[in-house]
């Protein structure tokens, strides 16, 4: 068996183990879907009235942003799960086994991807209920969902590095929130980036979350005919920009995460 096939096989065993947890502890999936539902309702009904997007209904504008935010939050499960496994000594056990070094990470990121699929389905239904509609072809819509998931998968590997470094799920959650809130809010997720002041606008224009949000908006046909064409390359070609981010993330995060895993020991 080639090393790569073995890594995938071992990864599947680990992923199965993680998925059993979703089944046995349904609270996890319930709460990780409830919070995005809450976000949809909050923004649609509470903030929605005060955020005007000329030319389109705010809920149409909002959904891609919430999708992006939610899958990024979903990706944090990777880090929290690994930190928890380290704390409980499970990683020690895995590392003492003759399995591929990357398998625990492959398994973890894959099962978290499955988690994100479930969350996206629930959110789409919520979105449809509050008035969101897809105006593109089914194929484009599918590409939109795939892009969101792919982006989240790449972010997962980054979260894995942090989770393996901090070694405690509580610390991880605090640390990841500090990074994720600015990334998902200083973006085009909930407001138009053109409305942001100077440096924040530049940050938002090149923020990876903005790219995937704009890409999803475009692929779902939730674009605004009245809003001006963005004057930066990143948002003029959001789909390509997102794919570039995904490749860059994977190229950087995967080797770093594997390196961190090799060093990871419980305290």
């Amino acid at each position: 068996m080639s090393a790569f096939a073995q890594a995938l096989g071992d990864g599947a065993v680990v992923a199965k183990r993680n998925l059993i947890k979703i089944k046995r502890v349904p609270d996890l999936i319930v709460f990780s879907t409830l919070s995005p539902i809450m976000f949809v309702l909050l923004f649609a009904y509470v903030f929605g009235g005060s955020i005007a997007i000329p030319g389109m209904d705010y809920r149409e504008f909002l959904m891609a942003g919430i999708f992006a935010q939610t899958v990024v939050f979903g990706a944090t499960i990777t880090g929290a799960g690994l930190a928890d496994d380290i704390q409980k000594g499970v990683i020690d056990r895995f590392r003492s086994l003759p399995m591929a070094r990357s398998a625990v990470l492959i398994g973890r990121t894959t099962s978290d991807l499955a988690n994100n699929v479930i969350v996206i389905v629930v959110m789409s239904i919520t979105g449809l209920i509050v008035g969101w509609r897809i105006h593109s072809s089914p194929l484009e819509a599918l590409a939109g969902f795939a892009l969101l998931l792919l982006f989240a998968y790449a972010v997962s590997w980054g979260m894995a590095i942090v989770g393996l470094m901090v070694r405690s799920p509580e610390v991880f959650n605090n640390a990841s929130f500090i990074a994720i809130f600015p990334l998902t809010f200083i973006a085009n997720t909930f407001v138009q980036e053109s409305s942001l002041p100077g440096p924040l606008k530049t940050f938002a224009e090149w923020n990876p979350v903005s790219a995937v949000t704009a890409a999803a908006r475009h692929l779902f046909g939730n674009t605004n005919p009245l809003s001006p064409v963005p004057d930066v390359w990143s948002l003029q070609h959001p789909v390509l920009m997102t794919l570039i981010w995904v490749v860059v993330f994977l190229l950087v995060f995967v080797p770093l995460a594997i390196r961190q895993y090799r060093k990871a020991v419980a305290r």
Binding site: Q6, D10, V13, V14, K16, R17, I20, K21, R24, V25, K88, G89, V90, D92, R93, F94, R95, S96, L97, P98, M99, A103, V265, A266, R267
Partner: protein, 324 residues
Amino acid sequence: MTRMAEAIVAEGLVKRYGSVVALDGLDLVVPEGTVMGLLGPNGAGKTTTVRVLTTLLEHDEGKATVAGLDVVADAKELRRRIGLSGQYAAVDENLTGFENLDMVGRLYHLGKKASRERARELLERFDLVDAADRPVKGYSGGMRRRLDLAGALVAKPSVLFLDEPTTGLDPRSRLGMWDVISELVAGGTTLLLTTQYLEEADRLADKIAVIDHGKVIALGTANELKDQVGGERLELTVSSAQDAELAKTALAPLAIGEIALDDRGHRLTVPVSGGADVLVDGIRRLDSESIKVLDIGLRRPTLDDVFLTLTGHAAEEKQGEQGE
């Protein structure tokens, strides 16, 4: 050159964490088929030693081989030959006992069928059949430890590492674990066991390495270590200080060293040699002087005494500090 008769060889292992020296030139040899007890307080370097030998941690200096394989150069092959059960019972709470063992079997690449059969076999052996298909969440501490130990045995390892296998267990579960481990080593598995319980090392290990500050400071069988501290002692309690003085005089001919009196002056410790005969002789002497004895016994030094003598501090002194 590989020395096949030696399952574990460590030479001059050094491991530093920044300025903290966890291992400070540790040497250890464990012959095949024997049980080595690594005895020491928290922070002595026991867990670090196990982590280096099981490839979880790379050491800074020195050399170590397990089953003839270098722990760094042959790490991958080595992992197929060893079993590790750590301090925390590293079992997955959300999986059933069966699922836990099956997962480990699959990760050893036993194949689907063999892995399942092995899991069932081990569950039976460790008395977990009734709980096999329940999530581990509901298991008692003792059951978790047994399952964790079973996990370490999935691939029938030639060398087994148990890091504090009974820490945190209640006395009854501890006795249960001891039975399981004794049975296991009777089958010829080489075992390196770390413990802070002197009684545990005494009970399970063929040889004991006492470690402190990252070094082996004494090595031998439990009896040899006890002899290092001194031989037997006759200990007796009398009802008054006056009787104690009389007893001291009466027993003086038997003593091979100085007779010690405790603070209250009611309890005497008499260093002796000669086993049970000395006890009988002592009782006769006390009886002929009509000294009323509340309690008397022949006591061999415990490993606690050994530890105190060797390290100058009690084994439990560092309790409460962070683990290694």
